[in-house]
């Protein structure tokens, strides 16, 4: 798919900053969750006969889950994203405008505390919520698909992971070791899990 003009991404970030000034961090979190859900719900549902057919669609960019990012399956259940779909916008923002407004981190901290500890910045709230809502629109065989984030690494190198036991369980379900996760996070922006619900 054609890339967006990063100016639109920058304007959207400023839009969110202005919104946060009115509704606060909790209100911004609600808006981000709502916009990501609405986006997923506006997109067509999908069905696949088998998990391997679904993986091929993910790999080829044909699935709702690979519309905005290049997905590379690591195992049958573990997915990785090479570059965050927000990276270009972030780089352009940093180059043309300056450092990100603190509210983007503040809302991520709120989300980590209230929902699950996997966001470094505001855009991860959009990404996680979108993937979760999008996965629920996919059926493989007779079963719907469930999404869970494993780890997110932001452009500045900051990594957000769940705590010990929760991480262990996720890695076991994803079929990768902690060492493999560390290797993936050197040059991938996200590692996530898809499994039959």
């Amino acid at each position: 798919m054609q890339d967006s003009n990063p100016f639109v991404d920058i304007a959207t970030h400023l839009f969110l900053e202005d919104l946060a000034g009115k509704v606060g961090v909790a209100g911004l979190n609600n808006y981000l969750v709502s916009l990501a859900r609405n986006l997923a719900e506006a997109m067509p549902r999908e069905e696949y006969a088998s998990w391997s057919e679904f993986l091929a669609a993910l790999r080829d960019g044909q699935s709702i889950l690979s519309t905005f990012e290049e997905v590379r399956p690591v195992t049958d259940r573990c997915m990785s994203t090479l570059r965050s779909p927000f990276e270009r916008g972030w780089r352009e923002y940093a180059k043309r405008v300056g450092s990100f407004a603190p509210v983007h981190r503040e809302v991520a901290a709120y989300y980590n505390h209230k929902v699950r500890p996997t966001a470094v910045t505001s855009v991860h709230i959009v990404l996680h919520t979108f993937r979760e809502a999008a996965a629920a629109r996919v059926r493989v065989g007779d079963a719907p698909v469930r999404y869970e984030p494993v780890a997110a690494a932001w452009v500045d190198g900051e990594v957000q992971l769940p705590d010990g036991p929760k991480l262990e369980s996720l890695l076991k379900r994803a079929g990768i070791s902690p060492t493999k996760l560390g290797m993936l996070l050197r040059n991938h922006s996200e590692v996530w899990l898809l499994e039959p619900a």
Binding site: M1, Q2, D3, S4, N5, F7, V8, D9, I10, A11, T12, H13, L14, F15, E17, D18, L19, Y31, S34, L35, A36, N38, L39, A42, M43, P44, T67, F68, E69, P85, F86, G89, E92, R96, V97, G98, V123, V126, L127, F130
Partner: protein
Amino acid sequence: MIDVALASLIEDMIEKAGAEGVVEFWQRVGDNLASRMGKEAYLGWTSFNVAIREARTAFSIEGEVTPLTDMAITDVDGDVVGYLYAMRQCCYIPTIFRTRFAVGRISPADKAVTDEYNENVHNIAVCNFCVFHERFREEIAKNVSVAGNSLACFLLATRGWSGETKISSKNVAQVNINEDHVRALLRNYECVYALVLRGARLKGER
């Protein structure tokens, strides 16, 4: 993906604040972004136009801008006080196509905001992003000085993704450019604007 998701956010906001609320919101965002970008100064039009070509100015954040140096704007003494500038592609076109391929249809919120702006502010918008964009350019221009004078920006013409064109008769008259020249530019460009020295006494101005 945040660009495609923006339409959902605007839909939400229309429900809460109406299309006029979204127009005000977008304009405030334009002010805020411009104020965060700081001031710039150029010795003269030549250095400014080179900076535009090399994407070094605040205007370059929008994407590729072409200075139309064959279309100078002159004052009553015949001195050059400005030029026309144009973008081959509207900033929002990639988002419209991304939306088309990801979602399937453009949100009606886009048209609601566009119509509100055209009816009550300035009949020049071809998409909701024009609302933000026009204000952003106007504010940026105030922060850029050429030969010691700050600039004023006039949005002259736009062409939308469906081919619809808009020409601002008010602004075209203000900078004393023939409307047919602007219309001809829309064959190659999707957004045409003028930058002139603030306070210049333009030829033909009454």
